[in-house]
């Protein structure tokens, strides 16, 4: 390793003009050429700001006050503009769909070359070369709509690699990917690191997923300061994750539940490096001591799909003979990779689209004749991005909207809105403008604006997407509470933690067909379902194997039951 640092922060601070306090304080950090660094931290910790300082978006697009020094390759960054910096450090942004600038893969990869005035013929040759590196060379003329999330991300990566930059910066590379694609992404990044020796910086809050492959150092940021700079084994065995609000790997959580003192000597940074000798018995004893929950639900049916088939164009079936029965008070997840038919399913339930075949029953009554508006009073849908729903400046008006559109008398409206705001923990903000709220609070507002119609079933599309552990827990606890009040909840999600921790039952779709409808613990340990639905085997299953516990699925189930017991 070279002694000369490629990136060096010295007493570096930054404050956005629009903020009252600095976002980064006294950052001191050296990164050496060829290192692979992971930067973790909860939302708002300043980790993305750190990334923006590196790639030059600060101060180019986001203005503020910089103090101290940041050198890249020995050059002070304040003396470089964003274009010089883009030759030193290539950035792959979080949303690979949004940064897909070109109309086709080839064009998008070529974007940096176009801006450099590279000649037409040379450009085409280089695009082909780089596309081959990320295995996209057969897709050069495809448009973004024809690509999967992983393919879009690989295209973004190629668009950055084409400049042959010495440093690659990945800003939350896992945010929009399903578990299997995320795993592949981490592998691709690792392969590039091994083959090219480039310096790699990954900003993420999903620690366990990034630790699927080796990382040299993990930097933890909290409230604008670096609070840890250590290797993964040390970090995972310390208390830092708990303090910072970052989710520790599940297998580590399980070990701690079992009363095992996790030390860095056990190499707990990766499940593949973990040495469990000496602790196996503790884990087995813990496993045997858990009393399993009864998962039998005998409530009457609230929502039933019978032989549902649907296609948009009359040719390709997006849903093919779907059957399921959801009982009152259940909390169910619907999972499957992009294009598996999850969103279409929710559209049919809400009446946005009409099924070609089959019937949907609410409490055993066929709802075919019900309009969108009528259905909304029983089945509420919360969209993924709160900005897609919010249309009023004030919180009260936003929540009241559905009632006003139904001509409910104003005094009843104010009563009902206040009740819902209280349930959602938004009562103190009643007279606030929505723009003053955080993302998580906005999410609550959108949930409140649906709950006010008093639906019996609530469908949420990716309710925790892009949320860090603390916000994730907040939202999910809130949903649990609503669930306890008797609302049946259906969650459309990619998030395996969410399935494991909150939805006892999962319905898995693949290619428009239902391929599983069972306990989450079974789904996440069934290699066949995992492969078809782009999931990833949970590390708890590996842990069970390491501990010599034969029934891994049952181990996962007991873990879930144990956690649930702790929550109550």
């Amino acid at each position: 390793m070279n002694d000369q640092a490629i990136i060096e922060f010295q007493d570096f601070s930054f404050q956005y003009f629009s903020q009252a306090d600095p976002t980064l304080y006294d950052i001191n950090l050296k990164i050496h050429p060829g290192e692979k660094i992971l930067i973790v931290g909860p939302s708002g910790s300043g980790k993305s700001t750190l990334g923006r300082c590196l790639n030059g978006l600060i101060p180019f697009s986001y203005k503020g006050v910089i103090t101290g020094s940041l050198k890249i390759n020995g050059i002070e960054t304040t003396s470089l503009d964003i274009f010089n910096l883009s030759k030193l450090i290539g950035t792959v942004l979080q949303d690979s769909d949004g940064q897909f600038v070109g109309l086709t893969v080839g064009e998008d990869i070529a974007f940096a070359l176009e801006n450099d005035n590279v000649a037409h013929a040379e450009m085409h040759t280089r695009v082909k070369e780089v596309a081959r590196m990320v295995d996209m060379h057969n897709w050069l003329s495809s448009s973004p709509f024809e690509l999967s999330g992983g393919q879009k991300q690989r295209t973004s990566l190629a668009g950055v690699l084409i400049d042959d930059v010495p440093i690659l910066l990945f800003d939350e590379p896992l945010a929009n990917l399903d578990p299997a694609t995320g795993k592949t992404a981490i592998e691709i990044i690792d392969d590039i690191h091994n083959n090219s020796g480039k310096t790699i910086i990954i900003i993420e809050h999903r620690l366990e997923d990034v630790l699927h492959r080796d990382i040299d150092r993990v930097i933890v940021i909290k409230e604008g300061r670096i609070i840890a700079d250590m290797d993964a084994h040390e970090l995972v065995s310390s208390r830092i994750l708990k303090v910072t609000g970052i989710r520790e790997p599940l297998y580590v959580t399980a070990m701690k539940y079992a009363g095992i003192h996790v030390t860095s000597k056990m190499l707990p940074g990766h499940i593949t490096s973990l040495k469990l000798e000496g602790s196996r018995n503790a884990l087995r004893a813990w496993y045997k001591a858990i009393t399993p929950d009864d998962h039998h639900n005998t409530n009457p049916s609230i929502l039933r799909m019978k032989n549902i088939s649907f296609s948009y164009d009359g040719i390709q079936k997006v849903l093919d003979d779907i059957n399921f029965n959801i009982r009152e008070g259940e909390m169910v997840s619907i999972i499957g990779k992009n294009g598996a038919g999850k969103s279409t399913l929710s559209k049919l339930l809400c009446g946005f689209e009409k099924e070609d075949q089959g019937t949907i029953h609410y409490k055993e009554k066929d709802i075919k004749g019900m309009t969108i508006k009528e259905r909304a009073e029983t089945i509420g849908l919360v969209m993924q991005n709160p900005n897609q729903m919010i249309s009023k400046p004030m919180i009260f008006d936003e929540v009241a909207l559905g009632l006003r559109l139904r001509n409910v008398p104003e005094d009843e409206i104010s009563h009902r809105v206040e009740m819902v705001l209280k349930t959602c923990g938004l009562a103190p903000f009643k007279d606030w403008p929505i723009s003053a709220l955080s993302y998580g609070q906005k999410k609550r507002v959108t949930i409140a604006s649906i709950l006010v119609l008093d639906p019996k079933i609530l469908i949420l599309d990716e309710p925790t997407a892009g949320q860090d552990f603390r916000h994730y827990t907040e939202i999910m606890k809130f949903l649990l509470e609503i669930n306890k009040r008797g609302v049946t909840i259906i969650l459309i999600t990619h998030d395996m933690h969410l399935m494991l921790e909150y939805t006892p039952r999962s319905i898995v779709l693949s290619g428009g067909r239902k391929i599983a409808d069972t306990l989450a613990s079974v789904v996440l340990t069934d290699s066949h379902v995992i492969a078809e639905a782009n999931l990833k085997e949970t590390s708890l299953f590996k842990l069970a194997q390491l501990a010599g516990i034969e029934d891994g699925t049952n181990f996962v189930q007991r873990f879930i039951d144990y956690e649930k017991g702790m929550r109550n």
């Binding site: 949004g98 940064q99 070359l113 037409h120 249309s391």
Partner: protein, 279 residues
């Protein structure tokens, strides 16, 4: 959703028209449109219309893709025709200087052959622009078109902005669709049952979230573009650049000839923009 997404946006097929450069198609589009806009000769207009329908067939655009658009345009044209008749029922008489009454309509309102012929001509004049516009829109690769615009010295930022608009148009369309459905579930009535004033208010309930979620995207896109050096120099090259080829020149030539022919018909045969069969 897939079939809907392709509506009004470029679709990739290999046809002689698709193979023409975007610049060529723009020039031809402008020439032919000016031709029908200038001329009030029904023979010229019908000829151009026939010609553009032929091109529409050659460019392998399916009727299902454009059905909705055609229906809207026809509705618009019919309303326009009816309204303009009531506003100036004697326009044709003024133009053609003769008066052949077909019959009484209401009070002093009479239908004349002149008026009918004039409105018939006008109807086809506007209608014939539609296939031309459709061809241009649906067969032109936006970024290739941007590159040809830049090739004729149009500022590349402006050219790129155009390509980008078309790149994100389907996204915004889909977003609009999703938002509109979610708002309908909250009780928004977009049907004709709602009063016009309410419908305007309701439209805002969709447009506001659309604007906010689109603004999020714009920030992201512009960051992505900055990070990859957009506009670092005063020029740029284009991945999709195509040199004008012989078929491009041929197409432009055909359009110019049609344009000149129409001018010729006006100047030497009709002695004016109108063709008058009544004298």
């Amino acid at each position: 959703m897939n079939s809907k997404m392709k509506l009004f946006s470029y679709n990739q097929v290999d046809s002689p028209i698709h193979r023409l450069s975007g610049l060529t198609k723009l020039i031809c589009f402008l020439l032919l449109t000016s031709t029908v806009m200038y001329s009030y000769d029904i023979r010229v207009i019908l000829l151009i219309m026939l010609f553009s329908l032929l091109i529409l067939k050659v460019s392998r655009i399916k009727f299902s893709q454009i059905r909705l658009m055609i229906i809207y345009v026809l509705i618009f044209l019919f309303t326009n025709a009816v309204i303009s008749f009531f506003f100036s029922p004697e326009q044709g008489v003024e133009i053609y200087k003769t008066r052949h009454v077909i019959g009484n309509l209401y009070g002093s309102l009479k239908l004349t052959w002149e008026q009918l012929f004039y409105q018939f001509t006008k109807f086809f004049k506007y209608a014939s622009v539609v296939p031309l516009g459709i061809i241009f829109l649906l067969t032109t690769n936006p970024s290739e078109f941007a590159s040809s615009l830049n090739g004729v010295k149009v500022n590349f930022k402006a050219a790129y902005a155009f390509a980008l608009t078309l790149r994100y148009f389907p996204d915004i369309q889909r977003n609009y669709h999703d938002i509109s459905q979610a708002q309908q579930a909250r009780g928004l009535d977009l049907s004709h049952k709602a009063k016009p004033m309410d419908r305007f208010k309701y439209a805002l309930l969709i447009i506001i979230p659309l604007i906010f979620s689109t603004l999020d995207r714009i920030e992201m896109i512009s960051n992505a573009m900055d990070l990859r050096g957009f506009a670092k120099s005063h020029t740029r090259t284009w991945y999709t650049y195509r040199k004008l080829q012989r078929r491009d020149y041929a197409a432009i030539l055909v359009s110019i000839l049609l344009f000149l022919a129409a001018l010729g018909v006006s100047a030497f045969i009709n002695h004016g923009r109108f063709y008058n069969p009544f004298i």
